[in-house]
């Protein structure tokens, strides 16, 4: 059945597709969970809708309310669509060095954007949003980094979909971000498969993003539960870009750049398994498609030049 009463009802139940060309061995298989097949084209539709509906049930959100959220893009786009359909105003705080497509989409959906300095990265956007929330007590900050409804959405939907479609799953690999995907899916899978490996891939940005960071002001999302993870990779922009192109060239999947970083980690664990001769079914998340990143020049031309252009941008 693929008929829905509204766009919001068309959320989730995304395809899990095998990658026969990229899988390193007959018994070590890679599987891509295509989260770009969600209403606004990213995995963030799941937590965004869950956070809004939870706030509605708790009475925090009422018709006409203003939602505030620090977001570098996809969560904002998901919230903007839902806010549009449900009649809320949305204010997004995002670093100024994010791709123009994300800003255009947010604006098209009617969201308002407050920019935070590029040099402060996402940490600064979070800090600024917290200040705005304190100054505007009637605004509702859903706060994806600490909102349990974020991880719960993945525990309730993404995790069960994966286990249903691939009962032999041995590894789950996803981007770190708010940690909601890894924590939610990880908890669900571990309950059913105690030995499952839960692997995080996090982007390693250029100097600009880390430059002014003070070690004592570090930021760990409140949702983060280190008990769930069994491994974590830091992937530079060149490797992320190389894998993004490889996924398109060899398997036909046109994914966003963060997916390249996730694939890099997925291939590392798959090759490790192939090396020791163990059977593995490695599921990784395609968080979004490449459309919003075309202006970065990521998909064509010289790899090193493209990687250099990405250095100062928040590409995930």
């Amino acid at each position: 059945m693929a008929r829905y009463d509204s766009l919001l009802d068309a959320l989730g139940d995304t395809p899990l597709v095998g990658l026969p060309r990229l899988s390193p061995a007959e018994n070590v298989r890679l599987w891509a969970k295509l989260e770009d097949r969600n209403p606004t084209g990213s995995i963030k539709d799941r937590p965004a809708l869950a956070m809004i509906e939870t706030a509605e049930r708790e009475g925090r959100l009422r018709p006409g309310s203003t939602i505030l959220e620090p977001t570098s893009g996809n969560t904002g786009i998901s919230l903007a669509m839902a806010a549009r359909l449900k009649g809320y105003r949305l204010v997004c705080v995002m670093p100024e060095n994010t791709s123009p497509e994300r800003r255009q989409l947010l604006t098209a959906y009617g969201a308002e954007i407050i920019s935070s300095p590029a040099a402060g990265g996402s940490n600064m956007a979070v800090a600024l949003a917290k200040q705005l929330a304190a100054a505007n007590p009637d605004w509702v900050m859903l706060y994806q980094y600490g909102n349990q409804a974020n991880a719960a959405a993945h525990y309730r939907t993404t995790g069960p979909e994966i286990l249903r479609d691939l009962p032999t799953v041995t590894h789950f690999v996803a981007g770190l971000g708010t940690t909601g995907t890894l924590v939610g899916v990880g908890r669900y899978l571990r309950e059913h498969k105690p030995d499952v490996q839960i692997i995080a891939a996090e982007p390693r940005y250029g100097e600009l993003v880390y430059g002014l960071r003070n070690l004592d002001e570090g930021f760990v999302p409140e949702l983060y539960d280190p008990e769930v993870l069994t491994g974590r990779f830091s992937v530079g922009s060149r490797d992320a870009l190389r894998r993004t192109r490889q996924l398109l060239a060899e398997e036909g999947i046109f994914a966003g750049i963060s997916t390249g970083a996730v694939l890099h980690a997925a291939l590392a664990v798959a090759e490790k398994a192939a090396g020791t001769g163990e059977q593995a079914d490695v599921v990784f998340v395609v968080a979004d498609a490449g459309w919003k990143y075309l202006s970065t020049g990521a998909y064509g031309g010289d790899l090193d030049q493209a990687a250099e252009r990405l250095e100062g941008q928040l590409w995930a």
Partner: protein, 92 residues
């Protein structure tokens, strides 16, 4: 051969501005002690109460050492070690 260690901007005051330095050791703890002997003050920024500082991430060949034994994680000649401040990162 030795281990190559990438130093984040915030810690380069200890390395005379160098982005990347060499060190040796068979574990991360030994590596940090060796770093400290040449770049005084670094260890204090990386290690708190016998553990890695909460907001510091250390990677051996891109893999986070916290899942590989922390300060007891093995390192080998030719490895690349990257030190980074914790940062909110990912699709949000």
């Amino acid at each position: 051969m030795a281990v190559t260690v990438s130093i984040p901007t915030i810690l380069r005051t200890h390395t005379g501005g160098e982005k990347s330095v060499e060190a040796s050791g068979t574990t991360l703890a030994e590596l940090i002690d060796d770093l400290e002997s040449r770049h005084s003050g670094l260890k204090d920024r990386l290690v708190k109460n016998g553990n890695l500082h909460r907001f510091v991430n250390v990677y051996v060949n891109d893999e986070d050492v916290r899942f590989a034994g922390g300060l007891t994680a093995p390192v080998n000649d030719g490895d690349n070690v990257t030190i980074l401040p914790a940062v909110a990162g990912g699709m949000r």
